[in-house]
């Protein structure tokens, strides 16, 4: 019998998922607080104790692998030239690699922006700019200034290929921790995600987890192999696409509402229609967006900021609450869990706002252009109207008494004809909170990971 243990070192919880590969089933799951501030192993041991208690006795594992978003996750700065092009391309690559993009800069950067990179304790910088053969002046300026300012954190250069040699010289000249990679946007509006994403992942594993005290766990387990959001994206892709004779679910959206961020993943092509003209930067088939100002605890104040004074007063009156005070309470105690029906009611409301707003920013838009042949449509971003399933994960959704109403906020409830939101999806929930674990298992046994997901990710 071969058992695998899959671990997700999250920002708050260390989550364990034990798998029996022969029975093709989950044996048990368990969790405990993440203790990366002291010793990451302590929380892991406690979680393991709980797991064995649930199982009834300790068991052996053939493989123990982990993903991590502990100690602030992977914090990146994305630098490009033009906002809609290489800046956006760089940002998307970081998000696809499972990073949080804390800083985004365009054109010539300045010293105060570089100071922010230092102050915000950025882990990796992605420096892009220029299509291949295009502008190289800007990336050279930026690399030089970063060098002059004594930046020694890892920098990945993924801009105009024609500037690679000079960039390499700059890295050497200033003794920087630089890496050269294929351009994220080799041609205008064409994206090249994989090389830079793989390099980010590699640097995360080689350097960042060490610096954050996560690597200590490798004295006890086989390896940390992915950033958590990257594991979730991998799982979502597998669940959508299928593997061998095991079919996938087709086009899906995954919504993960956490304490600090709301993550949205869509796995589908940009459009299935032949009557639209799609413009703008090429959209990734597997797309992740992260809203750092939408979350249940640490980022709850961002929800209030996204509302107008009139909306706040309307909510207070209609729901008979003081929403600003409720949000402040949650921000002050980020580990708090709902204690009563009132708390649950507020959390439900906040989650619904997060879901609505996060989809508003993730989804594509469409506009009509008239011709004698009838209408022509101009689309930017992804068309999610035909999405088959919207899948919820994360504590607030899993524990909600009204999951469907959170997930329904991703659809076109306000009948806005310009937003290409899912029209009539089915709603599923990652009830056992296993998506990240299945992204890990995919690296070892995709077939099994898919079968387990199909069993445990269930309709509401």
């Amino acid at each position: 019998m071969a058992n695998y243990l899959l671990i997700d070192f999250g920002s708050t919880f260390t989550k364990l998922c034990a798998i029996d590969t022969e029975a093709e089933d989950i044996i048990e799951t368990a969790s405990y607080f993440t203790t990366v501030d002291t010793d990451i192993r302590a929380g892991y041991h406690e979680a393991l104790n709980r797991l064995f208690m649930k199982i009834g006795s300790p068991i052996e594992f053939e493989q123990v692998i982990a993903c991590s978003s502990a100690a602030g996750g992977l914090k990146m700065a994305a630098i490009g030239l033009v906002e809609e092009l290489t800046v956006e391309a760089a940002k998307r690559v970081c998000l696809g690699a499972g990073a949080k993009v804390d800083l985004v800069f365009s054109h010539h950067i300045n010293k105060s922006e570089i100071q922010q990179i230092i102050d915000r304790k950025i882990d990796i910088i992605l420096l892009a700019g220029g299509a291949d053969g295009g502008n190289s002046e800007c990336v050279l300026f930026n690399a030089n200034l970063l060098g002059e300012m004594g930046i020694h954190i890892p920098i990945i250069y993924a801009g105009n290929k024609s500037a690679q040699d000079e960039i390499r010289d700059t890295f050497e000249q200033y003794g920087m921790d630089g890496y050269i990679c294929d351009n994220v946007m080799p041609k205008v509006n064409v994206m090249n995600i994989d090389p830079a994403r793989d390099m980010i992942r590699q640097i995360f594993l080689d350097k960042i987890i060490e610096a954050k005290g996560i690597k200590a766990i490798e004295s006890e387990i086989d390896a940390v192999i992915l950033p958590t959001p990257n594991a979730v994206l991998e799982a979502a892709k597998l669940l959508s696409e299928g593997y061998l004779d095991e079919s996938g679910l087709g086009d899906i959206v995954v919504l993960d509402i956490g304490g600090a961020t709301t993550d949205m993943y869509s796995i589908c092509s940009v459009s299935r229609r032949s009557d639209v003209i799609v413009s703008g930067l090429e959209e990734p088939f597997a797309k992740r967006t992260v809203e750092g100002d939408l979350g249940m605890r640490y980022s709850a104040p961002g929800i209030i900021k996204s509302l107008s004074q009139q909306e706040i007063e309307f909510i207070n009156k209609e729901k008979n609450v003081d929403i600003e005070e409720e949000v402040q309470k949650r921000y002050n105690d980020v580990k708090s869990l709902p204690q009563n029906a009132h708390d649950e009611f507020i959390d439900q409301f906040l989650a619904e706002v997060c879901a609505y707003r996060a989809m508003h920013r993730h989804v594509g838009r469409i506009e009509e252009v008239y011709t004698p042949m009838g209408k022509v449509y101009n689309q930017t971003g992804k068309d999610l109207t035909d999405i088959k399933y919207v899948i919820g994960t994360g504590g607030v959704i899993i524990n909600s008494n009204d999951k469907e109403n959170i997930l329904r906020r991703t659809t076109n409830i306000l009948h806005n004809p310009t937003e290409l939101r899912p029209q009539d999806p089915l709603f599923l929930v990652d009830q056992k909170y296993i998506l990240a674990a299945m992204g890990l298992l995919k690296q070892k046994n995709p077939y099994l990971a898919l079968r387990i997901m199909k069993k445990y990710i269930v309709e509401i």
Binding site: V82, E137, I277
Partner: protein, 134 residues
């Protein structure tokens, strides 16, 4: 190799001429960045910045060229490509207006070359050579 950004501006969907222009200019030895139909001024300018282009060649076929092109030179100046060459052609205004007046208006808007309806792109090649070389 000199780089030319081409596209059809505004809400204009006339796609055929755009393909011919791409073909002709590529054959003439230019690096052509084609941003296609339904392109805004910003789309042209952004592509020109990223590709360090030497010329932006705007097509407008449906008659609203004047509205669509207004302010484009100013935006180029703001975006740091003040000296880039701007061409416009196609059917840039509605109907049969006196073209010399139309041309003056577009020159005042900061376009370097303005072409009347029916000008084949081959006719413009001579000007491109003169302005860019190669």
């Amino acid at each position: 190799m000199k780089t030319i950004v081409i596209g059809v501006i505004g809400a204009d969907v006339h796609a055929v001429g755009n393909k011919i222009i791409e073909f002709t200019l590529s054959n003439a030895g230019y690096h052509v960045v084609n941003i296609g139909v339904l392109s805004s001024q910003e789309d042209f300018i952004n592509a020109a910045i990223e590709t360090a282009a030497d010329l932006i060649l705007v097509s407008s076929l449906y008659g609203h060229g004047e509205i669509d092109c207004r302010g484009m030179r100013e935006k180029c100046i703001e975006a740091g490509i003040a000296d880039i060459c701007l061409y416009v052609g196609g059917n840039i205004v509605v109907g049969k207006q006196d073209f010399s007046e139309v041309k003056t208006r577009f020159l005042e808007m900061g376009f370097n070359r303005v072409y009347p309806p029916g000008t084949p792109i081959d006719d413009a090649l001579k000007d491109i050579r003169e302005d860019l070389g190669e």
